[in-house]
Structure formats: C-alpha cells, structure tokens
C-alpha cells in the first residue's frame, strides 16, 4: 500500500512538473511570437489567411494547396540533405572562383 502511495506521489510530482514546464513553454512561445515580424520576406504564412477566413468554401482547393506546399517543402529538404552547399571552413582552392563572386555580391559590409 505504501508503495502505491509512493507511486501516486510520483505521478503527482511528475505530471505537475511536466505541466509546469509545458505552461512555461506556452508563455514563452506567446511571448517570442508576439514580437512583431520586421522583415516581411521572413514571414512564413503556412497557408493563405484570407482563404481561411471563410472556412466553408474551397476547402478541397486549400487541402490541395497545402499538400503541394508540403510536397515542395519536403523536396527542398531532401535537396538540402543530398546536395549540401560547401561551407567556408572547408573551401578548397578551386572553389575560390565562386566565392570571389559571392563576396562581390555581398559587399564588404558583411565580412
């Protein structure tokens, strides 16, 4: 019996701490996402908001749209995974040509 009570204590503590952490997450997320997005281009609207305002119409279209978006995103990720760009730290002399161009594009401000 005493063991069971122990177990109940553990449950109380465990669920309590879990909920505690999660609630903190909630606050934290509301906080950081509240910060207004400066650069427009950075915004990532996962689907068109206005088409969502009227949820009765064109649902299929929306679903399709999302599916495609997802597909594209995935594809993109795949490429990331299989055709990584070279990284500064590992440049070889031969990759120099490209870099030089890049640098000219960026301008000196960055580096």
């Amino acid at each position: 019996m005493e063991l069971i009570i122990n177990a109940l204590w553990i449950t109380l503590l465990g669920m309590g701490l879990t909920f505690g952490a999660i609630v903190l997450f909630w606050g934290m997320m509301s906080l950081i996402t509240a910060i207004p997005v400066r650069e427009e281009k950075e915004e990532i609207r996962i689907t068109e908001p206005d088409s969502l305002a009227l949820p009765e119409t064109g649902q299929k279209a929306k679903a399709a749209a999302v599916a495609i978006a997802l597909a594209l995103a995935e594809q993109e990720q795949q490429q990331v995974a299989y055709f990584p760009m070279p990284v500064t730290a590992f440049l070889s002399a031969w990759q120099l040509g490209m870099r030089t161009r890049q640098m000219t594009q960026k301008g000196n401000s960055k580096r």
Binding site: L3, I4, N6, A7, L8, I10, T11, L13, G14, M15, L17, T18, F19, G20, A21, I22, V23, L24, F25, W26, M28, M29, S30, I32, T33, I35, V37, R38, E39, E42, E43, I44, R45, I46, T47, P49, L52, A53, P55, Q59, K60, K62, A63, V66, V80, A81, Y82, P84, M85, P86, V87, F90
Partner: protein
C-alpha cells in the same frame, strides 16, 4: 592431439543451445517478419530482431567477448545512441505549426499521463520501482526517450520495452481510432477549427530550440540531454548556415546510430532474461506483463489526451476539435496524421492537419520532459 578435449569445445554451438534459445530465434524471426511484411518501424524492429537472433546464438551483450557487447558499451551504456538519434530527429521536426498556435502545446502534457498510470499499475503488480518506471516510459511513446531512461534504470528490460514501444507505435492506426470514436461524439469530431496562424519569423524559429533547451535544463535536468540533442538537431536545420552538419545529422549520424542501437538492444534479449532463467529457476512472466502494460500505457495516454482535448474544447466554447487531443501522446508524426484523417473521415472538407501537427510536436516535447522528470524522481529514490 587430444580430440577428447577439442571436440567438446568445437561443439559448444550445439551444447550451449537451449530450447529457450530456439524459442527466442522464433521471436527474433517474428520481429523481422513484422518489420518486412508489415513495415512496423522496420529501421528499428529489423535490427532488434536480428540482434535477438544473435543474442541466442552466443553473441549476446552478456557474453564477454561478443562484438555486440562492444557496441552496447559504446552506445547504450554511454547513452550516446539515443542522443545521436535525437540529433537527427530534431533536424527533421518542424515546430512552425506549433509556434503558430502556442496554446496547442498544452495538449503535449496531458498525453503523458499513461507514463505514470502504467507506473502505478506496475508497482501494484509487484514490479520494483526502477522496473516499474522503465515500463512506464513506454507511455512516452517515443523510442529514444524510453531507451534512454530504461538504460539507466533497468537495462535488463531494454529488449521488451523497446520492442513494445516501437511495435505499438506502428499499431497507432489500429489502437487509437476505436478509443477516439468511443470518447468523442460525432458532433465533436465534426468541429472545424479556424486556422489563422500568427506569422512565424525565422528569428523565432531559430530562437525556439535554444530557449526550450534552457527552460528544460532548469526545470527538469533529467530531461536535459535528450532535449538538448533534439533541439541541437533542430537548430542545425533551422539555422540554414550549416547544411553540412544538418545533412550529417539527418543521414550518417542517425542511420548509423539507429542500426547499432537496434542490434545492441536486440542482443539483450537472451532466453534466460525473456523466458526461463535456469540460474534462478524461475519463469520470466514479467516479459509478457511488460508487453501488456505497454499496450495499456498507449491506451491511457490516448484517453488522457482526448479527455484534455474535450476540456479545452469546452472552455474554448467548442472552437477546438477534441480529436487533436489524441496527438498529444507524441508518436510523431503518425498520431498527428491519424487525428487529421479521423476528422476527414467524418467530413472530407474538415482539414485540421496543422492543428494536429502542432499538438503532435507538443507531444514530442512533453514526452521528453515527462521521461526526464520520471528519471530524476526515481533516481533520487533509489
């Protein structure tokens, strides 16, 4: 030379082979069958099954000179394998759906009740605390978390617990739907959720993994390594400036770790730990109990998740579809996919995929935290 001395040595393969071993070969074969024919988490069940076969042919992690012992010590005892896998998983998770609807995160906590419910049951069934807690982690419904905690509390149970965790995870589409139908009314399942996510800036997406790591390390240090590696992987992906490392995490690192993790865990499944221990002369019924309790853990998680979903639905004035509560258990991303599908089955135009994924990623976070908290509490009591 003295054949009388040598022959017995050469025949150890046969002489040391018991009926129990034969049975375990069958078990290993079944796991491989499920992996290949049914595609139950093949990347894990296939290596586990093969490892189980090797364990019962004299290559278990308990044999001093077995190469699988070397791998076990290098990756399980050192805790590295589950953490390496988490680096890769983190690099494959996208938290945008969650960041777009912060309150979804609450569902990630409710879905962990199964962990503790199972622990209580296991204690009641007479399991020692460390084993009971390990069994509970099946309720985390997250392989690496369950393995990480179990490898510290009750390594002998790694086999059955990992098998239960991954098998049931593949059975989610069979386990959850009946419970969903039972606990939710058609009216509830028909609820459509408005989807007007806040725009999520890249800055936020990058800051998130860092902040999460800090919060968890402070509140639940036990979960710190798991959460830290998960978030590291996510940061590698979202930063966008270290594609080389992102690629390594998503491929080399996770693939190699997964293969050897599976083999090493399978190699713990010797017949004397699974069926009958000649030394103590007792049958290992606990193995069956673990499998049974694991199933209960999944069910309790789902029930708790759905219940909490209904509560949130009530307080939101019916704006939330309780089905997404069932994604809080983690089992990422199958659970999320399933809830969305259930809603669509009722009404093809009801599209709650993004909400479900939000709750599902929240479940992933909740599982790691709950697992870590459990580890911390039980460690202090031992």
């Amino acid at each position: 030379m003295n054949l009388g001395e040598i022959l017995p040595q050469l025949l150890t393969g046969f002489t040391s082979f018991s009926l129990g071993n034969a049975f375990m070969l069958l078990v290993g074969g079944i796991l491989i069958y499920l992996a290949i024919a049914k595609e139950y988490e093949p990347v894990l069940l296939l290596p586990i099954g093969f490892g189980c076969i090797l364990a019962n042919l004299g290559m278990s992690v308990y044999d001093e000179h077995s190469f699988l012992k070397v791998i076990y010590d290098a990756g399980i005892t050192s805790e590295l394998f589950p953490l390496l896998i988490f680096i890769g998983v983190g690099a494959m998770i996208d938290f945008r759906p969650l960041l777009a609807q912060p309150k979804m995160v609450l569902l990630g906590a409710a879905g962990q009740f199964g962990i503790f419910g199972t622990l209580i049951l296991a204690i009641w069934l007479g399991f020692p605390l460390n084993e009971a807690a390990s069994i509970g982690t099946i309720g985390a419904i997250d392989g690496p978390t369950a393995i990480f905690v179990t490898s510290k509390l009750a390594p002998d149970l790694l086999g059955p617990i990992a098998v239960a965790a991954y098998s049931y995870m593949s059975l989610i589409p069979i386990i959850q739907p009946p419970i969903m139908r039972l606990m939710t009314s058609r009216k509830e399942r028909l609820i459509r959720m408005e989807y007007a996510p806040r725009p999520v800036s890249q800055t936020v997406v990058i800051a998130f993994p860092i902040v999460v790591t800090i919060i968890v390390s402070l509140i639940a240090p036990g979960a710190a390594p798991l959460m830290a590696t998960l978030m590291l992987g996510n940061l590698l992906k979202e930063s966008g400036v270290v594609e080389r490392l992102n690629k390594a995490a998503q491929n080399e690192i996770i693939n190699i770790a997964t293969l050897f993790l599976g083999l090493a865990i399978g190699a713990t499944m010797t017949s004397d730990k699974f069926i009958f221990d000649p030394a103590t002369g007792e049958w290992q019924l606990r193995t069956l109990l673990v499998l049974g309790l694991g199933l209960l853990a999944f069910i309790m998680d789902t029930v708790a998740g759905l219940f909490f979903g209904k509560v949130m639905s009530f307080f939101s004035g019916g704006k939330i579809n309780p089905l997404i509560g069932a994604c809080g258990i983690s089992a990422f991303p199958m659970a999320g996919r399933l809830s969305a599908k259930m809603a669509q089955d009722e009404d093809f135009d009801n599209f709650i995929l993004m909400h479900a994924m939000g709750a599902n990623t929240a479940g992933q976070l909740g599982s790691v935290i709950a697992g870590g908290v459990l580890l911390a509490i039980v460690s202090t009591m031992m």
